[in-house]
Amino acid sequence: MHTTCKALFVSAVIGASSASAAELEVTHWWTSGGEAAAVAELASAFNATGNTWVDGAIAGSGSTARPIMISRITGGDPMAATQFNHGRQAEELVEAGLMRDLTDIAEAEGWKDVVHPISLLDACTIDGRIYCAPVNIHSWQWLWLSHKAFEDAGIPVPTNWDDYVKAAPALEAAGKIPLAMGQQSWQSAGAFSVLMVAIAGKEIYEQVYADHDAEVAAGPDIARVFKAADDARKMSKDTKVQDWNQATNMVITGQAGGQIMGDWAQGEFQIAGQVAGEDYTCLPGLGVNQIISTSGDAFYFPVMDNEEQSEAQGVLAATMLKPDTQVAFNLKKGSLPVRSDVNQEAANDCMRKGLEILAAGNTIPDTNQLVSPDTNSQIEDLFSEFFNDSSITVEDAQSRFADIVADAD
């Protein structure tokens, strides 16, 4: 029996078809329109292997889903696979031996050769073993602009951040909200780091987030970033929504001029039937510094007692990185595939811009990979407050930011 299973396992990995039909519960928080469609691609690809994807979607992103994941894993009744932002969030679970080692799958599938940029796989690697399957590349550094809004205001669509700031009064005069920004803290903090890369550049970004250099964080370069953030704060003060996709929807409908949001916003434009370049414009790096961060989602596979399921986990991990799956999934998700060897003809205008930057190697690691969730949430708290309370001065905010960077781990 044991050997038969092993044999089946191998054939499953290689042939992506299997007689063993395990049900795998997959937990994730992809529930918005574009996200759900993307997950469906993963599910159907996995179901095609003869296994069954049991969907365990929990809406409400990390704050709702993560306690469930951690509880289930430490409670000894884990789901078969779970989404995590890859980076440092799952480190301890791996160290505690609660996560399945995927190195065998990775080697069989040659992930090391195909995954690009390789930093994605590095983020999954602890002590030389691979513990997660990256499924996409998301980059934060995008500015989405509504053609309709600028048309209504009678001004051309700007091509960089500075022009955009200058256009703000005209937008306001036309009854538009210049910049849409959801009130959740991760959106505020994200927008700030986008501004940092765009305005202060890659080196400064890395000195602050990777080296935790508090002096730089308190220095003049970051001061400029805070100045820009102050502009953004003024431009976005009338946004009265919390969710990011509600803010995106304001851009889609032309109520707002633009939004600083990651490439996942693309999925929302797509669902609304909008065409890049015609209905909206995307500016990577805010049109200033064409650098994007390469974060993304990854799936972790908790250790399971059931051998059959354990094998199916391998199948799922392999399936997720298959070229076909990657293309289908990422098109719907609005993100970039994690492998460079896939057919990217279907990619649209924005995606292509991203791919070009990626190919040019103008990438930086995401903040999630550089700082701990703890530090990250301190930063989020700061910017959530900054963007929602105009009484906090730029100087005050910067000195608090420098404090957090000094204590970062």
Partner: protein, 309 residues
Amino acid sequence: MSDSTNPMARRDHTHDSVEPDGPRPRHRLSGRNIMIYGTLIMISLYYLLPLYVMVVTSLKGMPEIRLGSIFAPPVDITFEPWVKAWSGACTGLNCDGLSRGFWNSVQILVPSTLLSIAIASVNGYALANWRFRGADVFFTILIIGAFIPYQVMIYPIVILLREMGLYGSLSGLVLVHTVFGMPILTLLFRNYFTSVPVELFKAARVDGAGFWRIYLSIMLPMSLPIFVVAMILQVTGIWNDFLFGVIYTRPENYPMTVQLNNIVNSVQGVKEYNVNMAATLLTGAVPLLVYFVSGKLFVRGIAAGAVKG
């Protein structure tokens, strides 16, 4: 025990005590009456407003919601949102709305309510009538437990359940609900049973009835009101619970509130307020029904259980 606090005498009084004891109004249409009814009607409107908004919104189509005011009655009444909320709304890949969680919720609700009430009533009875050394200490700790935010307990309880081998099972969740319902329910039952004349208890002991016999034959039959209160509190609490349901069970057991959260928090482009409201109303239907049906007993039960301290 003086006569004025003699609960037996009190009971005769409470028998018709759902009738008001306050000062009697003098004339039907006096200024006083106008003020009383006026105030009550104004306040009732404030209380009904959200319900009204929920209902009218759930009956509108999305275009109408976008254009009109939330307080305007629906022009084109549609039940589409209700149908969608019940059986069509998606979260992730599952597009079967709330219906998927309804029976799960019932499955969680019934045993949790029964077990928590059974245990809490026995606790209250033991505390009121069979006081033993240390009982007050345990009771005090229990009451402090009522103040501990659930979030604090999530992690240790995961570990406890894991060690008991109940993590992820329905019984585990039932246990969690029982534990967290225990403080307030025990307080109510203890107060209630304390108000039962102690001589009744003594008489039963002379009659040779033991702990369980007295509980089942004497106390239980005279405690309907407090059981109604406990039931209402538990049905509401357990039915509306999201956190425990989602953390301590597996997806196949997820209660209806998980679907509600998913429907309300997953945004498919635009927030479908009509579907959200319909889903909200559907989820609230069970406790609301329980309230409207047993509201009168609720006050009487509270009068019996909460008033005496």
